[in-house]
């Protein structure tokens, strides 16, 4: 096709400001919490202060007598209509799965679990009355921390008989994708290098900006639920599957949603309780959590102990990798709880050619908030482990960390490449990304400065960290999910509606919560259909409008949903072509489609697709073998994941006197295939980087020995702001390795920054003080941990310090906690 002359430069690749920003930034839009319905009642939850306890009685009389209270209900007041919270991904057939009631009547299994709900005419009255509900508990021993759970001495759920939920294993020797890892390790022990490490993925809290909120309106034929969720379609399915209401009687709406990061990839007790209360009282109800409730009871992320063995020959060529994960599920197995660490199974081998690989994941139950997806979900953990190990291997061999990677990575000529984990990487160019990152970073100059500071014995040492990540994204080929026993598919759906006036509505089953789909999808349609960007409207997030969909997570919306959209658009063009041929009295074979216009080759005759939409609407003149409509749907099931990759380089300064760490420079060169909107990509990368850097340096959810969340407010759970970060140097390869499994050639980018950055930062911190004999700092790398590591390297061991809590807000309020030793990998509390 020749270049089009009758419209401006292509939309794809253009820095479009986001359509949705005006309403999102000013807040002049519909969030769940600002929905007010006639006669609406408000809910407040009564939550257990104990991590594990029997509920002996619930006295609701005083609360019921409180002003404007309509009802107070506890677990025993509900029957089967309350439903259950589901685990959609049992990772093994014999997985031990505790029953998860949205509101248990007999026993609570984590601090923050809901034991009663107060319904009142205002949120304030509900909150006041909630304090009057008198619950008596018999406290039970609580198991906190992975290593304690593995001992099986105290059980999170005594009826299960064990805390061990499931063991999931992948072995390249058994599957035939590689050789025996034990043999490789054996060989390396006598004639090579074996690196054994235990790394801790601390527990994190997604901390989205908008707290979770739900409104249920039971009036009308369909019961409507508005929820601040990433997954309206999965939510609707789960409500139907567990509460006895036919799916056709349920409408779920995710209005504008203020961030998720995986934290709203959940079907929550709060949603189920609101649903049951609204149905029982036949009144609309609303529940919006407080930030304290959100930190305590919305699902947490990560929380693994990684036991790793890397075998290599003397030149640093890796011969095998053995991974054992112990993953903390918390008290219940959330919707994809067990599956998150298992997703990592396919990514520990990263960009490398490992001949042998074994992965085991033991999931455990503890009396803590349940864990589930958090930006990257399984892949950041894997990337962290292998990228930390590659730096350790480089140190062992005595070569530059980039050099050790080059000795092991898949070269660009070797694609497509089937990995030891069984995935087929279609394209990639690690050499190009690394070369560009290296140049932009000023790698050699920073290495020289590092040496100079080290030689000088400068108080502030410089370290350089490398992370050459890849990830699998675009969740997911449905057959692959089936083989992993996941409870749904991974396709996506799109519709294109050609309106009578020539405007275009597109409907996507992806459910944006800040990503900018409305803008990026409009750009795609504008180019593909040849209509102005402004003429495209993107609809989503309402099951009455977007009736089919699998929602937004796992960097899937563009690469799966965008492909569905492309296919639906192509069907529209096919239909339009048939109509155009009829109206132009020409053969379809003689028609050319350019810039939104069909022309008859060799003539000046033509018709625009927007005119055809009007003609189809009028339906005065159309072929007998077609319906008078140009609208089309497509459901696309991806044939493969896609594999963005990049080289991230980080320079950190470490003040050896205080242990304070400071970022000096961060460069990333990501290869994400074709870029639809560079501005949106930059936003995703910047935000993703900060989230990953925050795991390395700041964020940690800490429970005390009794299971109380110590980091229960933003005073103690440290989220960074722009004041704590630097300007990142974000570049892309000059010639991206285009994805071959979708039409647009795109790869996911939503999680890339988060996946890549954490090991780059920790590698840099460790690199700055490696000469002092240090080879690890536990995350988050607090100044105290760094300082103690340095002290330990001088004195021969880290000093344990006694706890001596001192509250910030009020005396006796346990919101701060004792400290763990710097090198302690997993204490009793974590």
């Amino acid at each position: 096709m020749t270049a089009t002359q009758d419209r401006p430069a292509a939309e794809i690749g253009k820095d479009r400001r986001r359509k949705e920003d005006q309403r999102l930034i000013t807040g002049r839009t519909r969030w769940t919490d600002n929905i007010t319905l006639p006669g609406m009642l408000h809910l407040a939850m009564v939550r257990s202060p104990f991590a594990h306890a029997s509920i002996t009685s619930v006295d609701v009389e005083a609360a019921k007598a409180s002003p404007n209270v309509v009802a107070v209900l506890s677990g025993k007041d509900f029957g089967a209509e309350l439903g259950v919270c589901i685990n959609a991904w049992p990772i093994t057939p014999d997985q031990k799965t505790p029953n998860h009631s949205p509101m248990p009547a007999d026993r609570v299994a984590f601090a923050g679990e809901i034991v009663a709900v107060v319904v009142a005419r205002s949120a304030a009255e509900a909150r006041d009355a909630a304090e009057l509900v008198d619950v008596e508990y018999d406290e039970l021993p609580a198991v906190i921390g992975i290593k304690n759970a593995l001992k099986d001495e105290v059980l999170a759920h005594p009826d299960l008989g064990t805390n061990k939920s499931a063991l999931w294993v992948f072995d390249s020797n058994e599957v035939g994708t590689g050789s025996d890892v034990e043999a490789a390790i054996e060989t390396a022990r006598t004639d090579g290098i074996v690196i054994e490490r235990e790394y801790r993925q601390q527990r994190l809290i997604p901390a989205f900006m908008e707290p979770r909120s739900v409104v249920v309106d039971p009036t009308g034929e369909q019961i409507t639920m508005w929820s601040a969720t990433q997954i309206p379609h999965i939510l609707r399915f789960a409500l139907a599957a567990t509460t006895g209401v036919p799916e056709s009687k349920i409408r779920v709406i995710a209005p504008d949603v203020g961030g998720g990061f995986g934290g709203k990839l959940q079907t929550t007790p709060e949603e189920w309780i609101a649903w049951a209360v609204a149905r029982r009282l036949s009144k609309p109800v609303k529940y919006t959590e407080t930030r304290s409730e959100s930190l305590m009871a919305a699902h947490h992320g990560r929380d693994q102990v990684q036991t790793l063995t890397l075998a290599a020959d003397k030149d640093g060529k890796v011969t095998g990798l053995k991974v054992h994960l112990d993953a903390d599920l918390g008290a219940y197995i959330a919707v994809v709880g067990g599956g998150v660490p298992v997703l990592g199974a396919f990514m520990f081998n990263a960009i490398y050619k490992f001949p042998s690989y074994r992965f085991e994941c033991q999931t455990v139950l503890t009396n803590t908030t349940f864990t589930d997806a958090y930006r990257g979900a399984g892949r950041p953990e894997a990337t962290y482990a292998i990228e930390r190990l590659m730096d350790e291997l480089a140190a062992e061999v005595g070569v530059d960390p980039l050099e050790i990677r080059e000795r092991n990575w898949i070269t660009h000529e070797e694609f497509p490449f089937t990995t030891v984990a069984g995935l087929e990487y279609d394209t990639g160019n690690y050499e190009a990304a690394t070369a560009k990152a290296r140049e932009s970073f000023g790698y050699d100059a920073l290495r020289a400065e590092q040496k100079e500071r080290r030689d000088r014995g400068d108080r502030v040492q410089l370290g350089i960290g490398v992370s050459t990540f890849t990830e699998m994204c675009g969740l997911a080929p449905s057959r692959v999910l089936g083989s992993l026993d996941y409870g749904a598919g991974g396709w996506e759906h799109a519709s294109v509606r050609m309106l009578a006036t020539g405007k275009v509505e597109i409907v996507t089953g992806a459910s944006a919560h800040g990503q900018g789909h409305e803008t990026a999808f409009s750009q795609i349609v504008a180019d593909r259909l040849g209509v102005p960007f402004e003429d495209v409207e993107v609809l989503h997030g309402d099951t009455q409008i977007a009736h089919k969909g699998l929602d937004t997570y796992g960097s899937r919306s563009l690469v799966v949903g965008g492909e569905a959209l492309v296919r639906a658009v192509d069907k529209v063009i096919d239909k339009a072509k048939h109509l155009a041929a009829h109206l132009l009295e020409a053969s379809e074979d003689d028609l050319e489609y350019k810039g939104g216009r069909f022309t008859v080759a060799g003539t000046d005759q033509g018709v625009a697709i927007q005119e055809l939409a009007t003609a189809a609407f009028a339906a005065h003149n159309y072929p007998e073998d077609m319906e008078p409509s140009l609208d089309a749907d497509a459901t696309y099931d991806p044939v493969n994941f896609n594999y963005p990759h990049g080289t991230h380089l980080c320079a950190m300064e470490v003040d050896t006197e205080t242990g304070a760490v400071k970022m000096r420079k961060y460069t990333c060169c990501d290869d994400i295939g074709v870029i639809i909107n560079p501005l949106i990509v930059a936003g995703q990368v910047h935000g993703g980087l900060v989230q990953g850097i925050a795991q390395a340096l700041w964020e940690e959810a800490v429970h005390d020995d009794a299971g109380t969340l110590v980091s229960g407010s933003f005073v103690d759970y440290l989220l960074p702001t722009s004041a704590d970060t630097i300007s990142f140097d974000v570049v892309h390869t000059d010639e991206p390795s285009v994805c071959t499994t979708n039409t647009l050639g795109t790869k996911g980018v939503g999680e890339a920054g988060t996946i890549a950055s954490t090991p780059a930062v920790v590698n840099a911190v460790v690199d700055a003080i490696r000469h002092l004999g240090i080879n690890d700092i536990q995350m988050p790398c607090t100044p105290e941990r760094v300082w103690r590591a340095i002290q330990g390297s001088k004195a021969g061991g880290a000093t344990e310090t006694p706890p001596d809590a001192m509250p910030h807000f009020a005396e006796g309020e346990a919101n701060q906690q004792s400290h763990e030793g710097a090198l302690d990998q997993d204490g009793a509390g974590q």
């Binding site: 304090e131 702001t721 105290e784 807000f809 400290h819």
Partner: protein, 281 residues
């Protein structure tokens, strides 16, 4: 988050405020900017029946010259303290510390007197006020009295202000021409200090005054360091040696951000840095 219901009073004079306080006693809380009180109320960690807002009393705002001292009205915001010419000239340390309080939004809302009366040992203003020998003017039903800084801070969140009294102004003896630096150690910018050191130095060095933030249940003076610095020359070695004494007599907390021994180490390191910067060395 929704606080427990309370009555809100907005007096327009100190006398009116004192009368309200007298009437409601310990059921009342003073709102003086609200940057600490409001989170406490919203998290339901405290539930006063009456909140008395001093924001409408204009006589409590402003900074004036009073001969050998400057006088800061209790309801003057951190922002105004930071930027005021009199503070720059005569109590530079306060300006430096006020600049480090939380973030810009809080500095425009939070007040000098409110923060000092709250007496959070991790608050940024206690240590400099102590180091500068501030005098606290406290008004009660029987009139005004003045309390020296050393006697003002009693314990964690506890001051010499009686239940029926209000802090009206703080007199800061002039330290004209003294160098000053506030060295604050945090992990993220908006955090309370893990440890901070407020140092102000006359000459190089005739006299040094050093206050410590978050090193005990009240703001503290690093007296041993001050003594060692008096009359010393501001060399790096000399200052570091004196700073080695900075943690003497401290009893810092242990929490997620650091154990007590680490904080004591920080106090020594940060004291040296603060004094050197204050001395312009």
């Amino acid at each position: 988050m929704i606080p427990v219901k309370f009555d809100y009073l907005a007096p327009t004079s100190v006398e009116e405020a004192l009368a309200a306080l007298g009437e409601h006693g310990d059921e009342a809380k003073i709102l003086a900017g609200g940057q600490s009180l409001l989170p406490v109320l919203r998290m339901r960690l405290n539930a006063p029946e009456v909140v008395i807002d001093l924001g409408g009393i204009s006589s409590l705002r402003g900074i004036r010259d009073d001969g050998d001292a400057i006088v800061i009205g209790a309801m003057t915001t951190h922002h105004d303290v930071r930027d005021h010419a009199l503070v720059h000239e005569h109590a530079l340390l306060l300006s430096k510390a006020a600049a480090e309080v939380a973030d810009a939004q809080i500095r425009h809302r939070g007040t000098f007197g409110g923060a000092l009366a709250h007496a959070d040992p991790a608050g940024d203003l206690g240590a400099p006020a102590l180091a500068l020998g501030a005098q606290f003017v406290i008004q009660g039903p029987g009139g005004s009295r003045t309390v020296e800084a050393a006697d003002f801070f009693v314990d964690l969140f506890e001051t010499a202000i009686g239940e029926d009294e209000i802090l009206t102004e703080v007199r800061i003896p002039k330290h004209t021409g003294w160098g000053a630096h506030y060295e604050k150690f945090v992990r993220v910018a908006h955090q309370w200090p893990i440890v901070a050191v407020a140092a102000t130095v006359k000459g190089s060095i005739d006299e040094a005054r050093v206050g410590l933030t978050n090193m005990g249940s009240t703001p503290l003076r690093a007296s041993a360091t001050e003594a060692a610095l008096a009359g010393a020359t501001a060399t790096e070695e000399g200052v570091r040696e004196a700073a080695e004494l900075a943690a003497e007599g401290t009893n810092p907390p242990s929490d997620l951000n650091g154990a007590a021994d680490y904080r004591q180490h920080l106090a020594r390191v940060l004291t040296a840095r603060a004094v050197l910067k204050a001395a312009g060395a």
